[in-house]
């Protein structure tokens, strides 16, 4: 055992000196390898963290939302539907919601306008999200004007700003009074955007949804789980799009690694011949190449993942944000809660380390199994 350890020690020593001897080749491999792990790792960490963030937010979302449909498309819901829904057994509470989108031609951005249930701003006042205050450089006391549905200009005073901590959902949000909302959009008092429903027993959600459709055939109940699934699919699609691009980068990397790591130079082949001729076994040479490959892989993988972690969680994934955070002009400025999925990390490890190691070892093995007398005849 002691001899085996001493042997590995000597072989490792030789491996390190081999790596240093081929500095340029190994540094270029390390840089490309690290870059690929960084890009793939960033995409994976970002999409996983975003999905988790969305799930955390949706945890507090209403269990059911009821919308009215007209010709198969959304239509404001009549207020009197509320009483019908409230009377259904199992419904704890039902409330109307007023919210909508406003397109700001100055910024080319869409804002979400909403009337909160609790403490709505007084008529004439609004509370704005951090994203809006940032792009419009608005502060408390400033006036914000909207063009109403009939073309008239409505002005409001900014009385507050939503906290930056909730920016993922509130970047483009504007809170206003019920009356102001209706004037701005021309929404009659008899209509609302939708109705949120709470039920006593979660297991009865689908039954109650069925009852609502039966009593109010022109409505569509949407259950929270369906929203969660939609968000999941959206982020998966966004992540997937980037992952597809990055898989192409990975393929390019594999070709690069094959070329660089596997393409043994005449000098390297000669060296293997010398080592065999002076008494090294094929296994010893493979050990050198395995250590070489493992060291480059391990260093690159660790550096790439650490850089990806810093990029996503400390620098808010600034490279990917435009592609992955959504289509809005007002990109939320927020820190994602650090979260790592060990499964994805393992997948990434095998996607990068295995091809590289194979690329390194196979040609070395092919070179190492030649008769050592080849070096005498060269």
């Amino acid at each position: 055992m002691r001899r085996w350890i001493e042997k590995q020690h000597s072989i490792l020593d030789f491996t390190l000196s081999s790596l240093l001897r081929r500095k340029a080749k190994n540094i270029s491999l390390f840089l490309v390898y690290t870059l690929v792990v960084f890009l793939l790792g960033s995409a994976m960490l970002f999409t996983t963290a975003m999905k988790r963030e969305a799930l955390l937010i949706l945890k507090d979302a209403p269990e059911m939302v009821v919308q009215r449909l007209l010709m198969g498309r959304y239509d404001p819901i009549p207020m009197d539907y509320l009483n019908t829904i409230k009377k259904i057994r199992g419904v704890t509470s039902a409330d109307v919601r007023l919210w909508g989108y406003y397109y700001d031609p100055v910024m080319g951005a869409n804002y979400t306008l909403m009337v909160p249930h609790h403490d709505p701003p007084a008529p004439g006042n609004i509370v704005i999200g951090h994203g809006i205050s940032r792009v419009r450089t608005l502060d408390k006391g400033d006036i914000f004007s909207f063009r109403a549905y009939d073309g008239r200009v409505q002005s409001f005073t900014v009385t507050g700003e939503l906290s930056a901590a909730s920016e993922l959902v509130s970047a483009d949000l504007i809170l206003m009074a019920d009356a102001d909302f209706r004037i701005l959009f021309g929404l009659p008092d008899s209509r609302a955007t939708d109705i949120v429903v709470k039920v006593r027993n979660q297991k009865e959600l689908r039954t109650i949804a069925g009852k609502i459709t039966e009593l109010l055939p022109d409505t569509r109940p949407i259950i929270r789980d369906e929203i969660v699934r939609t968000y999941d699919a959206v982020f998966d699609w966004r992540g997937g799009m980037v992952v597809v691009l990055l898989i192409m980068a990975l393929s390019a990397f594999i070709i690069f690694a094959w070329e660089k790591a596997s393409g043994l130079s005449a000098e390297e082949r000669r060296e293997i011949g010398i080592l065999k001729a002076i008494g090294w076994e094929t296994a010893d040479i493979l050990a050198v190449k395995t250590y070489e490959g493992s060291l480059v892989s391990f260093l690159s993988f660790s550096t790439g993942i650490l850089a990806a972690y810093a990029h996503v969680f400390f620098f808010s994934a600034f490279l990917f944000a435009p592609a992955l955070k959504g289509w809005s002009v007002l990109y939320p400025d927020f820190r994602i809660t650090p979260f790592i999925d060990p499964y994805q990390l393992t997948v990434l490890f095998f996607l990068t380390v295995v091809p590289y190691t194979v690329a390194t070892i196979i040609p070395s093995w092919r070179a190492a199994i030649v008769d050592p007398d080849a070096v005498m005849r060269s």
Binding site: R3, K7, R21, A277, D284, M376
Partner: protein, 238 residues
Amino acid sequence: MIKLLNVRKGFNIGQSNEFIAVRGVTLTLAVNGITVLKGPSGSGKTTLLSLIGCMARPTSGRIEISGDNDILKNRTIDSVEVTSLPERFLTEIRRRTFGFIFQQFNLVKGITVLENVLLPSYPLGEKYSFVRPRAEMLLKMFGLGERAQTKIEWLSGGEMQRVAIARALMNDPPVLIADEPTAHLDSKLSSEFMTIIAQLKNSGKTIIIASHDPLVFDADSIDRVIVVRDGLIDGDGK
């Protein structure tokens, strides 16, 4: 004693470029002394040398290493038929029995003189604190003590030759095999090489050299000259 029985070695067998380098050689090489395999280029002497040194297997025939325990160092058996041994055992016999000095020196570039000399000892798993003084002692013996930390590429041809000899002696093998050792040396350095070889012979080493250099096969220290021509033994004497 090293015995070759009707040994043949061919390359690219069964292909259009088939070539037979050694055509049925039977030969016995005694322990101790210097033997030279003499012959023109392409005569098959390097191939014969690599077969004797367990670097390659013959296409047919047998090679046996036998006799005293000096050759089968650290082995309890009297003789071994090497041609049928698996690679691992053949390698072990090669590194414990033979030290090689190549025509092109075949030193590893980019590492120091000391590291080059240490290379054959790595697979043995001996302690660094044990092998390093041995390597340094060998370098001193060949006047290279001061050059231990120099990179190989900074050495002169003569110095490289001496590093190659030191490396061949690293595992203290009983047999030294040298393939055209003076091919890249001038007359002065060739004479120096032969002096070193004579000293090694006096210290009890068996030396087998392939060469067509008169400075080698005409040297006083040579005990036996075997003439190789067209893959066959064409003469044997002093």
